[in-house]
Amino acid sequence: MALIRDVARVCKSKNAGPFELTIDVVFEDAETFRRVQATGVLTAALFARLYQVPEEQVLFTPYDAAFAFKATLPRLVPAGAFGDTDVYGCQQHAPLLDVDLPL
């Protein structure tokens, strides 16, 4: 077992336009990427649960060229609208850090 915070090289979030949030998890090399992918933990369903959105609203893309997984989902509030907490969307990654991967 391993927490993402201990095995990922990068774990970050950012706006993809004013209405969407995109979250990236990047691993060290192709071997780690493949092992993580094989666990089946990183999926659209995981992001849907962590970010409280319907799974069909999560665009989940493994990107093997960068040993990365990307999920893009709707923001809770559009960037800069009343109630937004994070205009750049760059501090929304923390719930992923403690996801456990059965490596």
Binding site: V10, A65, F82, Q92
Partner: protein, 455 residues
């Protein structure tokens, strides 16, 4: 030798700064074009609405002066997209005025092109009525009412207006809202190179040295050839690695492999990344898939009111232990007292952000039940009518945060520590994104008029 073009980007945003030595190192490599991205939608709706830049004019002027001197001395074009941060008319005008002043002060002479991107509302309505404007990111269809309410609408141009301006002999091209890679794609298309590596190069250059490690605001040098791109930071303290460059494809895009641009889609799913030195990376295998219809993104904002805010905090464990009930009482008190001075609850929004609990993630915070030893609050009022109303309701909120009683209270002189006097901050007009749509164009240049000046 095969055909190539050499491109030098100074940083991620005009006004973010770059080391002068990095610019000199880039110039020593004889670039064909120098440029920088001038803006972003990322800092939020305020800048498009207010007409103000998000980088400071002092910092923008510093970067501009160094770049202009370099471009004129090297006799190469200089291209800037999304001038002034949001790329509307006032933003473009501000940067254009700086360029004129610098040219006069430094005795620089060149042909300047200004490419406008702010859109005429009548045109947007016509295009929407023709069924040729499409909602993006699950937004509602664009209505005349939304267009009328918009403070400002810009169109995000592709490379074609830049090509027109450069073909007309402009040496310095300042554009309004542009797709970030567009000025660079324009330079490569003009060099008779295919679109795929040109767009890919633009994706790298629009962020300056961001594809390099360590990250920082700095210069990036990119060489584009028929079937590949090579990128290298000019600062010897940084380097591009296959992984750092591959990772950049993730940046601010909804997909790492499909990048939608005006006129087509850049597909990076088959990209290969190879180190050509310990500091430079060659990227190949990108594809450009032309779109059936040429579209540009429209961005618009509307004003929702005026904001006032106040920052305070508590170190009282008795209050922290029952903070939700306390804040509910404050909200009720504020509603009652604001109504008493004639401000109805439907004329403002009052929010209390609780830092130390869920101030960063809001409703998505998974650990909001953990109680820390101190909590910070940002009180916020947005009133639709005026700053006066926003400030009045906020003042009442601040007073009630300070003095509202709660069961078990020992701190009877006051509940909140205020770090500032005055405690209340008038923020001014508040905007929200209201237009985020794609408009079909008959001609990629049709809504981006160009003005030329000889300086």
């Amino acid at each position: 030798m095969s055909k190539e073009i050499r491109l030098l980007s100074t940083s991620g945003i005009l006004g973010y700064g770059f080391p002068e030595a990095s610019l000199q190192a880039g110039l020593a490599r004889k670039p064909d074009v120098i440029g920088v991205d001038g803006g972003s939608v990322d800092p939020g709706p305020h800048y498009l609405g207010s007409g103000k830049p998000f980088a400071s004019p002092l910092a923008i002027r510093r970067d501009l002066r160094l770049m202009l001197r370099a471009a004129i001395a090297a006799k190469i074009p200089m291209v800037i997209g999304t001038s002034g941060g949001a790329g509307g008319a006032p933003h473009l005008a501000m940067v254009a005025q700086m360029v004129r002043e610098i040219a006069r002060e430094d005795g620089l002479h060149f042909k300047l092109a200004l490419i406008h991107a702010e859109q005429d509302k009548a045109w947007v309505k016509q295009r929407a009525a023709a069924g040729r404007v499409h909602a993006l990111a699950r937004q509602p269809a664009l209505t005349d009412a939304t267009i009328d309410r918009a403070t400002r609408i810009v169109g995000m141009m592709g490379p074609e207006p830049f090509i027109t301006a450069l073909d007309a002999g402009a040496q310095v091209v300042l554009a309004g809202r542009s797709s970030d890679p567009a000025p660079w794609a324009a330079a490569t298309l003009r060099a008779q190179l295919p679109p795929a590596p040109g767009w890919y190069a633009g994706k790298m250059l629009e962020c300056g040295a961001t594809p390099a490690i360590p990250k920082g605001h700095d210069c990036l040098f990119v060489t584009v050839r028929e079937d590949h791109v090579e990128c290298e930071p000019t600062n010897p303290a940084r380097r591009c690695t296959p992984l750092s460059v591959a990772n950049h494809a993730l940046h601010e895009n909804s997909s790492p492999i499909h990048h939608i641009e005006p006129g087509g889609l850049l597909d990076t799913s088959e990209c290969r990344f190879e180190a050509v030195s310990d500091r430079a990376v060659r990227i190949s295998g990108m594809h450009w898939i032309p779109a059936e219809r040429y579209t540009v993104k429209l961005e618009g904002v509307e004003q929702t009111g005026f904001r006032a805010i106040c920052v305070c905090g508590t170190r009282d464990p008795l209050l922290i232990g029952r903070v939700d009930a306390f804040l509910d009482t404050v909200r009720q008190e504020v509603a009652t007292k604001a109504a008493a001075f004639g401000v109805s609850p439907d004329s403002y929004q009052f929010g209390i952000r609780v830092y130390g609990r869920d101030g960063v993630m809001g409703a998505r915070e998974p650990q909001r039940s953990a109680l820390p030893h101190e909590l910070g609050f940002v009180l916020e009022v947005v009133a639709s009518e005026s700053q006066e109303v926003a400030s009045a309701v906020l003042a009442m909120a601040r007073t009630n945060m300070l003095h509202t009683d709660f069961p078990g209270r020992l701190c009877r002189e006051g509940n909140m520590a205020f770090p500032f006097s005055p405690s209340d901050i008038e923020v001014g007009a508040v905007y929200r994104f209201s237009v985020f749509h794609a408009a079909e164009l008959d001609d990629p240049t049709e809504v981006f008029p160009i003005e030329y000046e000889t300086l």
